[in-house]
């Protein structure tokens, strides 16, 4: 809207900022106890648009706050580099639909190496392009990580994740809280 100077009255915010706000003000009660004994390890993909391209680390810091609340701080392992210095997954900008799959995967190889270096078995991808690309490069280069949406982990930590809402969870978490 800035680009086309379209006047608008509404304010644009991201759901991640709201998740963080609701956890901080106590409206959203999450708990990482479910992961105390399982100790499933999580890392995250910073979507470029809410990180570097947003001009600050505010949203990606909120993202980390939410993740640590729902999986336990000790179970979160960040990538190197991260936040506003993250590497793009290679799926953005339309790359997933551009038709140059070999090049798109070669691009994603850098991210794949950074994600697997964390040793995490779960990658939280809050953007659909990232989600699709990270799943694809995981299968292509042979990773053993699962790619999950943030809302899945929040609902798991609230104890309300339904049986049919677990498509992306691995066998270790498939039954948790049921």
């Amino acid at each position: 809207m800035r680009r086309f100077k379209i006047p608008h009255k509404f304010e644009l915010i991201t759901i991640i900022e709201l998740y963080a706000k609701w956890i901080r003000n106590g409206k959203l009660k999450v708990n990482s106890d479910w992961n105390k004994d399982i100790r499933a390890k999580f890392t995250v993909q910073d979507p470029c648009n809410i990180g570097r391209k947003s001009g600050s680390n505010k949203i990606v810091d909120d993202l980390r706050f939410v993740i640590k609340q729902v999986v336990g701080e000790e179970n979160f392992i960040d990538t190197v580099p991260n936040r506003d210095n993250n590497y793009c997954c290679g799926g953005g900008g339309g790359a997933l639909q551009a038709g140059f799959s070999d090049q798109r995967r070669a691009f994603g190889r850098t991210k794949f190496n950074q994600l697997t270096a964390t040793g995490a078995t779960y990658v939280i991808a809050p953007c659909h392009n990232c989600h699709g690309q990270i799943e694809d490069i995981g299968e292509h280069f042979g990773a053993n990580y699962h790619v999950v949406h943030l809302w899945t982990m929040i609902c798991l930590a609230m104890g309300v994740l339904g049986e049919d809402e677990r498509t992306y969870l691995g066998p270790d978490l498939a039954e948790v809280g049921l």
Partner: protein
């Protein structure tokens, strides 16, 4: 050995064309340090990298710049510009190279998604009626089968809602059960929200396609609907 580039014969017309649109692009300030390229995961793909692209642009190798397919592999992630000591607008250059390609010759996948979005409101071609039917149907299932959510409310175009949410069309079209967790969170915190029926999808392939006209149209339709019809003070991006 490749032939030397004869600079005398080249005129950087494309550079001037792009500069007219982005006056602060700083192309002439390139120090050729290569920091952009060192931190770019798309370097070397299609025998191209950001530094090379700027050199070619400045030398006036316009045809070669436009002929490369690299602009469709670069995701415009902006890591190059964020480390560039001269703040050169490389992502915007890539966008403009995309825009220089005849519309019908841009990648079919992106073109198709952009056209669908203009026509139906989502890149996957789900019309607003299909969208509304799917979300209301899934919400009904959750009310019936998920204990604690008997009162879950999901609406489309509820005038005056505090928040309007967009939704990537992948969910209603291919994995509707993935919408449930988001709704449960909203329900738990007592959020006052609705989906818009106009341009409801979160993605925007016209932006990826560098279709200024299509992108602008989508944003205008959406803005008019939210401001004038729904009158909601917040739009929430769900990804």
């Amino acid at each position: 050995m490749e032939a030397a580039i004869k600079i005398d014969e080249l005129v950087p017309e494309f550079k001037d064309e792009v500069l007219a649109r982005i006056p602060d692009a700083n192309f002439d300030l390139c120090l050729t340090c290569g920091t952009c390229t060192g931190g770019c995961a798309a370097s070397e793909l299609f025998d191209m990298d950001p530094r090379k692209l700027i050199r070619m642009l400045n030398l006036g190798m316009d045809e070669e710049v436009k002929k490369s397919k690299w602009m469709w592999v670069c995701s415009m992630c902006a890591r190059c510009q964020s480390v560039c000591p001269m703040d050169i607008a490389i992502p915007k250059l890539v966008y403009n190279i995309r825009a220089s390609v005849e519309r019908s010759k841009r990648p079919k996948g992106i073109l198709g998604s952009c056209d669908q979005h203009i026509k139906t409101g989502s890149a996957m071609g789900a019309k607003k009626d299909d969208f509304e039917f799917t979300v209301l149907d899934v919400a009904e299932e959750i009310r019936d089968e998920h204990p604690g959510f008997e009162d879950l409310q999901v609406s489309v175009d509820r005038v005056g809602a505090n928040m309007v949410l967009n939704q990537n069309s992948r969910e209603p079209v291919t994995e509707p059960e993935e919408m449930g967790p988001l709704w449960k969170i909203l329900h738990t915190v007592g959020a006052d929200w609705t989906y818009p029926s106009v341009m409801w999808a979160g993605e925007n392939y016209c932006m990826f396609m560098a279709d200024n006209e299509g992108w602008k149209y989508i944003m205008e339709e959406f803005t008019l609907h939210v401001d004038n019809t729904l009158k909601s003070p917040y739009v929430v991006n769900t990804e």
